[in-house]
Symmetry: C2
Subunit: 186 residues, 2 copies
DNA sequence: GTTATCATGTAACAGGTTACATGATTTT
DNA sequence: AAAATCATGTAACCTGTTACATGATAAC
């Protein structure tokens, strides 16, 4: 039940076409709710039929022609209602943790390399978030909207830091226990 | 593509029936890959048909009768192959972060209470993990299997700590900025 | 005019959720 | 014998993914 609300949020921030939304889901919004253009078009259709958004009447609709949407009052109300709804945190679902548990049973050649690879990816993601933070939230700008959006970004940053910390500790343990300690150099 | 491998892992740890698996998915395995009995039965059927597991021949099969499965060599090989496969970390997908971003646009009455509720839930989950850690990983037991399983549990613990930290900071900011500072007491 | 790319879609499928159905076993 | 619960399953639906199709516009 989250994608339509992600779309409503994005459209309230700025009316857009399906492709524009897709691009924005590859950046800001997608950092905590990713999606593909197929899903977005499908959902835009449903939202329009439900009377929560409408296509701007500026251009006549046709396949291949750009179609921009804006949120109708009903859509804004639906979004506000959803925000107010309590929802429990989901159980973790992480393939890497699962693979590690499986590795405890069937063995794990190459798992260390995989952990290192993930570490690099998370470090890259962290650097990206930090760049966004510097760009979008310089000290001083503190409206309520900025505060909330900054908190969301902080969530992403903290989460990457969690992974980096965990992976680093896992790798340290790994090299300390599995590979015999071996000073570098020839 | 993870559920079948979660099931294979669980069955290698201990041959079980569908219901027993369901219960174990509510505890240990489910802490990083949750599932329901419907999905588990469906997947057990597929795995049996694919020749990766088989029902123990001790009882004749019938609806309502317990049916225990064990992993066949093909299943163990498939699991080992999957463990060795590289797989990128997924994008974050969190409804709470999304709701916060939406709240920046449509307002957020009651969001503070929701954050507090989540904080309590994460603290409970953390306490549960720590109890498991004390019970299953007392200092000293350091086989390779234990080491990997302990790392997985540590992942869960660190993740709960991430949420607790983030929520605490969010709430501190919230009370500091929105509600006027007000000393407790009459 | 051909090629690239912008833009909107369709179709088929896989994975996950919710609601319901039904047989077997144990407890009272 | 009735009720509880153990145990397996079906069906419908929703969400998400992958592959493909097609029209409009811009660049060369």
């Amino acid at each position: 039940m989250s994608l339509p609300h992600a779309i409503l949020t994005a459209l309230l921030e700025k009316p857009s076409s399906g492709l524009e939304l897709t691009r924005r889901f590859d950046r800001s919004i997608g950092y905590f709710w990713s999606s593909t253009h197929q899903q977005i078009y499908r959902e835009l259709g449903k939202l329009e039929e439900a009377g929560q958004i409408r296509a701007l009447p500026s251009t006549q609709p046709a396949r291949g022609r750009k179609k921009e949407y804006e949120v109708l009052p009903a859509g804004r109300e639906a979004l506000a209602a959803w925000v107010a709804l309590p929802e429990d945190p989901k159980q973790i679902r992480d393939p890497l943790l699962l693979r590690m548990r499986a590795a405890a049973v069937v063995g794990a050649p190459g798992l260390t390399a995989e952990l290192r690879r993930h570490l690099v990816l998370h470090e890259k993601q962290l650097a990206e978030y930090l760049a966004i933070e510097r760009r979008d939230f310089p000290p001083g700008r503190d409206s309520e909207e900025d505060r909330l959006r900054h908190l969301v970004l902080r969530g992403g940053i903290d989460l990457e830091n969690f992974w980096i910390g965990w992976l680093t500790r896992a790798l340290a343990q790994d090299s300390g226990q599995v590979t015999p300690a071996r000073p570098s150099g020839p």
